[in-house]
Amino acid sequence: MWGGRKLGSSGGWFLRVLGPGGWNTKAARRLISSAVYVKNQLSWTLQIKPGIFNEYRTIWFKSYRMIFSCLNRIKSFRYPWARLYSTSQTTVDSGEVKTFLALAHKWWDEQGVYAPLHSMNDLRVPFIRDNLLKTIPNHQPGKPLLGMKILDVGCGGGLLTEPLGRLGASVIGIDPVDENVKTAQCHKSFDPVLDKRIEYRVCSLEEIVEETAETFDAVVASEVVEHVIDLETFLQCCCQVLKPGGSLFITTINKTQLSYALGIVFSEQIAGIVPKGTHTWEKFVSPETLESILESNGLSVQTVVGMLYNPFSGYWHWSENTSLNYAAHAVKSRVQEHPTSAEFVLKGETEELQANTCTNPAVHEELKK
């Protein structure tokens, strides 16, 4: 279990150097041997979770996926038009896809495996609604979000999409798992009002970035960022599809010792609150990391607030403590320079690094991330 901590910290270094900071030589050295680290990570993970065969396969799969996705990223930065031809699933982790496929038909059982997500609606719907209402001068009673276009990324069975639709918004829900979208589609088809307001699609965010650039008043990525491979790209895409002044809502799990102990060990392995294998601690995102990535993409973070789940009552509560679950609200700045200046910085730094590092192609890929 303590191996997990070390593991986590090496994973943390891995993530941090990918962020805007730390381009020093020490970090570069770490990057060179990062491929080795990745392999070490794999062996550590195998030791911690013995006997889960599909875990072995997905982890190997993940490492190859990472390398492939890095190659694709290089292409897309150097040749912007190549984005259209890049692999569709650049941030989607197929291991995660498999996990969710197994539970695709259980979304709408309120007392089933997704019960905590159903009761999380009591927090996240008012959070989204109230923050969006601040931007609407007069709202219609009964349909407060009328006229808002919302994108629900990773909508799953539509648990959060439907309440937003009931509040009057027109919502597009996307999910890479097609069984999920089938369940969601079927569930909303019985309600004539929701049928008109909600649209579901099987795709990832990157696939629709082009056609839906700057069209949404709000993007909701609830319990999603801890499942994507490439957080930076994902958040960039979120920013791209938002109108200037639009809101981004994220709920996710923090990466702390407490979240490992309660979120993985207790929730998954002991109490069975969350199905086994749903979460990987390495992919949890701390609010600081999230904030820094959001700020660097031109999104200004308005609120970060913690959420706590009481497994005995089944209810969620807001909390000052963000060490387990938390929700964040960020607003895309109305001024356009911010995202381009970030791009400049990134381009400049990649050119610099290219000059500094050795010719190892694998390292190039990690750098480009």
Binding site: E110, P141, L167, H187, F190, F312, S313
Partner: protein
């Protein structure tokens, strides 16, 4: 919480089969039915109030509500001269609910009677308890049921774009959705009416009385028993010109007899009271107590006399003079007093007066009855009932469908209005959170809140009824001392009044 743990272990509240009703049918084809957000089955006082509360709720502006009423539409063109014999005692909490959707204004424009004091005493002893509010607020209002119904109907007509009311329509079959979500089957409740039309709804509210069809169809267990009592109601004309703002109740061994003020001495019920400060008016009448009557109309009161079935049948069929004598003797006679109880009661009274010399509750004498309105005597049987569960997935019970109580405490319709208020509040919050209205998460909140209040009241009323049904000395002694002690402790009386007027 316990229910949640149980349900997490896999036991889901299923709708068991009951008689000819099938609990789980696939309705893959009937997608052309109108899907309502809420259907209220039963258009009585509580059902109509529920439909009004939802229709006027700000978060229900784009929702569709249907009210099903088996009877015809009651149109009250003009208020009749004779007062109806069915009246209800409306608590201040219920009045607040009715005014929240504008029905109370209609009632004020028609007629009602406010009362400030209530005297309850025993036939077997001198013990009495007097409830009154020091701050001169009204304790409650006596309103005819027809007047309330008319006010509710008028308010429903004003929101007919959101609330559809179907008269002469009775649901004959309810079909519940499967407890686990299935791909092809509709997740809504299907209702079939007598004329064959069908609807679907996301939430079915059962407000159809103590023989609730919704409750039976859902298979909800109902704890119920019949009291060996029937209630006789009548409209009485009083012989004196009292200000008539006191409610009287005497516990006879055969059952309680109550006199509720309906009309005051100046011939009007409440118009003047609404205009003038009440304390000024009652002071005026207090000093005028012995002047001959200057006004033309009588003071009216409504009688509710719960007694054994045979005696009730007798009372209804006897001629009017004998009936009036029976009522007067029920209030005035000391035949059930025994010396033992009298001395025991006097002892405690003396002890109380030593401890609390300042507060002496003046015993008032009830008014005597002059005559009874012709054809106003009716009887109906009494019983107790309580549903084990108020909610199921997509079903909620309110009013008499959920609980049925003895009229001795005047709480029956007030508990129903309390249910309406609580459920409307929970549904409003749920609608503003975009939740599925039939979801158990907020329905269990309503159930917990109301069951806590209603079970206490039901238990207390049943206990009082049983306690006062006997003339055995030990129990009479117990209740005499108990009543006197409660009367002496003002905070306790205030607590009781506060609980009952919610």
């Amino acid at each position: 919480m316990a229910a949640r743990l149980v349900s997490r272990c896999g036991a889901v509240r299923a709708a068991p089969h009951s008689g000819p009703l099938v609990s789980c049918r696939r309705w893959s084809g009937a997608s052309t039915d109108t899907v309502y957000d809420v259907v209220v089955s039963g258009g009585g006082l509580v059902g109509a109030a529920m439909a009004c509360a939802l229709g006027y709720d700000i978060h229900f502006h784009d929702k569709k509500i249907l009210l099903l009423e088996a009877g015809p539409k009651k149109v009250l063109e003009k208020l009749s001269e004779t007062y109806s014999n069915r009246v209800s005692s409306i608590s201040p909490g219920s009045a607040t609910l009715l005014s929240s959707f504008g029905a109370w204004d209609h009632i004020c424009n028609m007629r009602y009677r406010a009362f400030r004091r209530m005297q309850v005493w025993d036939a077997c002893s001198e013990a009495l308890i007097m409830f009154d509010k020091d701050n001169l607020d009204d304790m409650g209002y006596i309103v005819e049921n027809d007047v309330i119904m008319h006010a509710l109907t008028k308010q429903l007509e004003a929101v007919s774009d959101r609330v559809t009311v179907l008269y002469r329509s009775k649901a004959i079959r309810y079909t519940w959705p499967c407890p686990f979500p299935m791909a092809d089957s509709s997740p809504w409740v299907h209702i079939t009416l007598g004329d064959g039309s069908t609807f679907q709804t996301k939430l079915l509210i059962g407000a159809d009385g103590h023989n609730s069809g919704v409750r039976q169809a859902a298979g909800i267990q109902n704890v119920s028993w019949n009291y060996d009592q029937s209630a006789v109601v009548a409209t009485l004309h009083l012989s004196e010109a009292t200000e008539n703002n006191v409610a009287w109740q005497r516990f006879l061994p055969s059952g309680p007899i109550a006199l509720l003020p309906v009309r005051g001495p100046s011939g009007q019920s409440a118009h003047m009271h609404a205009a003038f400060p009440l304390h000024f008016l009652s002071a005026f009448f207090w000093f005028q107590g012995n002047l001959p009557r200057l006004f033309l109309s009588d003071t009216l009161s409504s009688l509710v006399w719960s007694t054994s079935h045979e005696h009730a049948a007798e009372l209804v069929s006897m001629d009017e003079e004998k009936f009036v004598d029976a009522v007067n003797s029920a209030f005035w006679s000391d035949a059930d007093h025994t010396d033992f109880i009298d001395t025991a009661g006097a002892m405690l009274q003396y002890a109380v007066s030593l401890l609390k010399p300042t507060k002496v509750s003046a015993r008032q004498l009830p008014p005597s009855v002059a005559r009874v309105d012709a054809k106003s005597r009716v009887l109906f049987p009494l019983g107790l009932g309580h549903a084990a569960e108020y909610v199921r997935p997509r079903v909620a019970l309110i009013g008499d469908a959920a609980h049925r109580v003895h009229p001795l405490a005047g709480q029956g319709v007030n508990m129903g209005f309390g249910d309406v208020s609580s459920l409307a509040h929970h549904l409003s919050t749920a609608a503003f959170n975009g939740k599925d209205l039939g979801s158990m998460s907020h329905l269990t909140g309503y159930e917990t809140e109301r069951q806590r209040h209603n079970t206490v009241l039901l238990a207390a009323t049943d206990l009082l009824k049983r306690l006062y049904s006997t003339s055995a000395s030990p129990l009479v002694l117990l209740r005499t001392w108990g009543l006197q002690a409660t009367n002496a402790v003002s905070p306790l009386k205030e607590q009781i009044m506060a609980f009952a007027s919610k």
